[in-house]
């Protein structure tokens, strides 16, 4: 009985779809994402179980997956990221100011970490955030060597790999708890990336036009675009002002650090608040002594010493690979040289009040 019933269900679905898309009448129904699996309470063992992709290699997303990018992304040992959002049919994202988009239950956020270009591209892991009725669940999936399947890696993994640039990496796939370490706010798992201020206005407008987003909020698309700030293939900026440097630095800290370093975050006890919207210079580290940094302080007295990058703990920790010193603690095993160069530049041109100490900034002050 059951197979017949399932067959009837499928046939009914195909009919409905055929009615909705008359031009494709007779074509096979599009593949369906397994909503029950997203919203259920199991820990699916393979990425393929969800039906997010039409192929096992996850190169071809189903139509319901919406790719997205971030203006300033989290740095993960230089991995490329393929990001998708899935919304159950008939649901909509709600904007919450310029902050985190509010996803309906049944949504999924899918992020694949990859190295290499074109034919050489290799997937390392795919991380899922599933929005279930009782909250978000974060699950890591590890790709096999053959690139045919990604399987649940609850306990995470450590993988030796060589980047296309020839760098040797001890790449860490986080375990399920480590996922939460970053994706945690007041003890609940939350997404980090898709905040309106860090997404392109064009993308948001497109989502809104298709009914997938209730509105494009004020303050959207306000973080600078990271890639545009750099000369391709180098650690040198494209020329820009000190105030633009400050904005880029604050954006980087917001995206890479503030998920822990904010009230209610994993590093709240440090008192360091690196959120974009934090306006108090002491709170984001200017002349702030460390609390529980231990050797992480590196013999330095404050998180940010205006005018002196070498005396700033923030630079010291971002420029270290040593566990116990390195920041962020999770998600990287190499140093982000661009970010270190940026922080140095930002701090070197900083006045005691945390603002940029430059000609263009003074000019702004004079105009007031």
């Amino acid at each position: 009985m059951k197979p017949a019933f399932a067959f009837l269900g499928l046939a009914a679905g195909a009919l409905a779809l055929a009615a909705a898309m008359p031009r494709d009448a007779g074509a096979l129904p599009p593949p369906m994402v397994n909503d029950a699996l997203i919203q259920g309470d199991s820990l699916p063992r393979a990425l393929g179980d969800y039906g997010f992709f039409t192929d096992g290699a996850a190169r071809n997303p189903v139509g319901a997956l919406k790719p997205y990018e971030l203006n300033t992304p989290l740095w993960s040992d230089g991995a490329d990221k393929l990001r998708y959002i899935y919304l159950p049919q008939g649901t909509q994202i709600a904007a919450d100011g310029a902050g985190l988009l509010q996803f309906p239950v049944g949504s999924a956020i899918i992020k694949t970490f990859a190295f290499g270009e074109g034919e050489e591209q290799r997937f390392i892991e795919t991380r899922l955030l599933l929005h279930r009725a009782d909250g978000w669940v974060a699950l890591p999936y590890r790709w096999n060597a053959e690139q045919t399947e990604a399987r649940l890696a609850l306990a995470g993994a450590r993988i030796a790999l060589t980047t296309p640039a020839g760098d040797e990496l001890s790449y860490r796939i986080p375990n399920k708890n480590q996922c939460k370490s970053c994706h945690s706010k007041d003890g609940e798992v939350v997404p980090i990336g898709p905040r309106a201020r860090n997404m392109s206005g064009e993308w948001l407008a497109d989502m809104h036009a298709h009914g997938a987003l209730d509105r494009v909020p004020e303050g959207a698309d306000s973080l600078p675009v990271w890639d545009a700030a750099w000369n391709a293939g180098s650690n040198d900026y494209a020329a820009h002002s000190a105030t633009a440097t400050a904005a880029l630095a604050r954006a980087y800290l917001d995206v890479n650090c503030a998920h822990c370093h904010q009230p209610g975050g994993g590093a709240s006890n440090s008192g360091l608040d690196l959120r974009w919207e934090q306006g108090d210079a002491f709170a984001y580290g200017v002349n702030k002594p460390p609390v529980a940094a231990g050797q992480g302080a590196g013999g330095l007295l404050v998180s940010i010493e205006p005018g002196d990058p070498d005396a700033s703990i923030l630079v010291h920790r971002m420029n270290s690979n040593q566990p116990g010193v390195a920041m962020p603690e999770l998600g990287r095993s190499t140093i982000d040289q661009r970010a270190v160069a940026l922080m140095r530049d930002w701090i070197a041109n900083m006045g005691q009040d945390g603002a940029a100490k430059t000609a263009d900034n003074r000019a702004q002050g004079d105009g007031e």
């Binding site: 063992r45 450590r158 375990n175 994993g266 006890n269 940094a293 992480g296 116990g324 095993s333």
Partner: protein, 399 residues
């Protein structure tokens, strides 16, 4: 619910655990894949479960974490089950606990790259007979804290031993309802430190060969301040004479070698029935916060600090302060046991020998001192111990 999926996963052969994972007790043995097997057990545990760590040496490359309420992690003794983090490549601590009602007992961590065990926002946690050791002894490259509960209500630390922490062996921060007892803190910068916390009882511990034995601090600029209601009693505070090896920049880097029990800021601290021997700078030190700060919520002064009857042996005979030799000579060869900076309010039982710097404001340091023998009132009433210490129910969990 997860149990059902567990059964399914196990049936599919995904979880290669020796013991049936849906049982109340999950037994982990050392050897190949211990990192993944142990971490998987910590993730899949259900409230009430026990994770048993069989005796042996576990080689770990990454930090472990527990985020399930009500789990007990139990080894075969602090010398039998050793989690070795010497080759740790990632994470800021050996074990991170972020769930409530957890019991950690009878195992050891060696050479974690960052902190030993950190529990954050983990209420009613018990650390029992846990050892954290940096086996190379004092070294600024050691991790900061051995046992590190923070932002928690209900903390019981009993029978632990920490050696070699570059900050504090046992550090309780921004927490309430705390007991630290029957523990040994040896050769750390700070042996035991209670910081920005309230309602703490520190008793029956041994603090030996640290830079400073037992510290009670309150610091500005933190989410939780206003430390106080702390009792430090019946401890053996001996030979805290290790040179300060904290990396500069940390608050404990300013702790003077040879400090026994030190109170900085706080409101309401009782120090009594301790045995203090061979703490060459100051067996007892009570001072205001010394650095500049910009935080209106913060009280920098030590208030209502009571020095009760303690047993003072040799001490203050090699003070690590400028002109210390001459000062000691002026006091007849060694400084009297209680040192106060003269700020805030201090009470001491009759017969307590001490000296005051007589500072007029915080931050002056020894340069601004006008030393004189201690002249303070005796405590006017019994110290109010109401509500101090870990909740009694935590005792039941280690019975």
């Amino acid at each position: 619910m997860i149990r059902n999926s567990l059964a399914a996963l196990t049936a599919l052969g995904l979880l290669a655990s020796a013991a049936p994972v849906w049982a109340e007790t999950h037994t982990i043995s050392p050897g190949e894949g211990a990192q993944e097997r142990l971490q998987e057990a910590l993730i899949l545990a259900e409230p009430g479960d026990v994770i048993m760590l069989e005796a042996g040496h576990y080689t770990l490359t990454d930090g472990l974490s527990l985020d399930v309420d009500g789990v007990t992690v139990r080894g075969a003794g602090m010398d039998g089950t050793v989690l070795d983090f010497t080759s740790q490549e990632g994470s800021g601590e050996g074990l991170l606990v972020t769930s409530d009602d957890v019991v950690l007992r009878d195992f050891a961590l060696e050479n974690p790259k960052g902190d030993g065990i950190k529990s954050k926002g983990a209420d009613n946690i018990v650390y029992y007979r846990v050892r954290v050791t940096w086996t190379g002894g004092p070294n600024p490259d050691n991790g900061a804290y051995g046992i590190y509960p923070v932002e928690s209500t209900g903390v019981l630390v009993d029978g632990v031993k920490v050696t070699g922490a570059a900050d504090a062996g046992v550090y309780v921060g921004q927490s309430e309802k705390i007991t630290v007892r029957n523990s040994i803190a040896e050769a750390n910068v700070a042996g035991i430190e209670i910081e920005n916390s309230r309602d703490a009882l520190v008793e029956h511990n041994i603090a030996i060969r640290n830079t400073g034995g037992i510290l009670v601090f309150d610091l500005p600029g933190l989410p939780k301040m206003g430390g106080g209601n702390v009792v430090v009693a019946n401890n053996l505070v001996v030979s805290n004479d290790t040179a300060n090896f904290a990396p500069p920049g940390n608050i404990v880097a300013g702790v003077l070698r040879g400090t026994g029990i030190m109170v900085m800021a706080n409101d309401g601290v009782l120090i009594e029935n301790n045995i203090l021997e061979n703490n060459p700078t100051a067996p007892v030190m009570v001072i205001a916060y010394t650095e500049e700060y910009n935080d209106e919520r913060y009280n920098a002064l030590p208030l209502n600090v009571v020095v009760g009857a303690n047993t003072y042996g040799r001490g203050g005979d090699d003070p690590q302060i400028e002109g210390g030799d001459m000062l000691a000579a002026a006091f007849g060869g060694s400084l009297p046991p209680v040192m106060w900076d003269g700020l805030g309010s201090l009470y001491a039982v009759e017969g307590t020998a001490g000296w005051s710097l007589n500072l007029m404001k915080p931050g002056g340091g020894f340069a601004a001192a006008q030393p004189s023998p201690l002249d303070v009132y005796a405590p006017r009433e019994a110290f109010d111990r109401t509500g101090i210490g870990a909740p009694a129910e935590l005792d039941e969990r280690i019975r």
